[in-house]
Symmetry: C2
Subunit: 143 residues, 2 copies
Amino acid sequence: MRLLRGNAATRRALSAQLHAEHELTINDFECLLLLAHAEENSLRRVDLAEGLQLTASGVTRLLDGLEHCGLVAKAKCDTDARVTYAVLTDEGRRKLEAAAPAHMAQVHALFTERYTAEELGVLAELLSRLPGAATVDQGTCTP
Amino acid sequence: MRLLRGNAATRRALSAQLHAEHELTINDFECLLLLAHAEENSLRRVDLAEGLQLTASGVTRLLDGLEHCGLVAKAKCDTDARVTYAVLTDEGRRKLEAAAPAHMAQVHALFTERYTAEELGVLAELLSRLPGAATVDQGTCTP
DNA sequence: GGGCTATACTTGACTACGCAAGGAACTATA
DNA sequence: TATAGTTCCTTGCGTAGTCAAGTATAGCCC
């Protein structure tokens, strides 16, 4: 586990700037990001939980906040009354677009400062084997 | 950041067993472990904070718990009245020794299942470059 | 010695998140 | 078609950990 400790500091560093400049936590940001990349800009709560590595209740509360700010809206599912979709609103998209450049730059700096492209590839592949790791998706902007 | 998500699930998996069998969180365990490897079995709070990647207040509260359970005790510093050392008690050592085998086995399984020895070395080296990462210390039992 | 800044630690208020339990709605089985 | 089991989601409660502020000590420099 010691080996995984760097993570905490890394997240905190990124989170601080994101929060100071845009009032978003990392999970807020990544939630918006997942939605932006999803079909119809919407995802079921379960899928968000999976993508963000949160429990169902964690997602409920995360979305509570984002809905309250108008960045995300609810939508019913036609074929299954149990599910409610989270949908990115226009405001959510604007927020994401406003926050992304600085955040991405910071993430980018954080990693390229420390790793070559090749090393980054190796690291991503290795970490993707951990349980619950996001599959490495070259389409998303965060490494 | 997506790349670092696997961490959470990994920690949770390990934490669950540790908590169920020995009433310890991962941080409890690693705190005891750090103390066990430290000179005189004692460390300043600041150094624990560094090693566990917690803030000073986080450490205060973590130790509150461990002291309450008698696993760790306080000790004054002769030369600097500001610092209080955390010292591993006999009971703390027993607890650690009781919890270690199963936990280590689980950690070991979790990693050797997924990585060869060589890959593990690469992974450790790469992760050690992250800010706040524990320096890779072959003396400790956790990777 | 008297002030200044830095360091070690604690405390209060707050937040994010997990877990356990529960309510709907869907699916399969009889 | 009734029943049982499963899945999706929410809610109450508890906990770990942060941040900001405060206290106490150390070490400077005049």
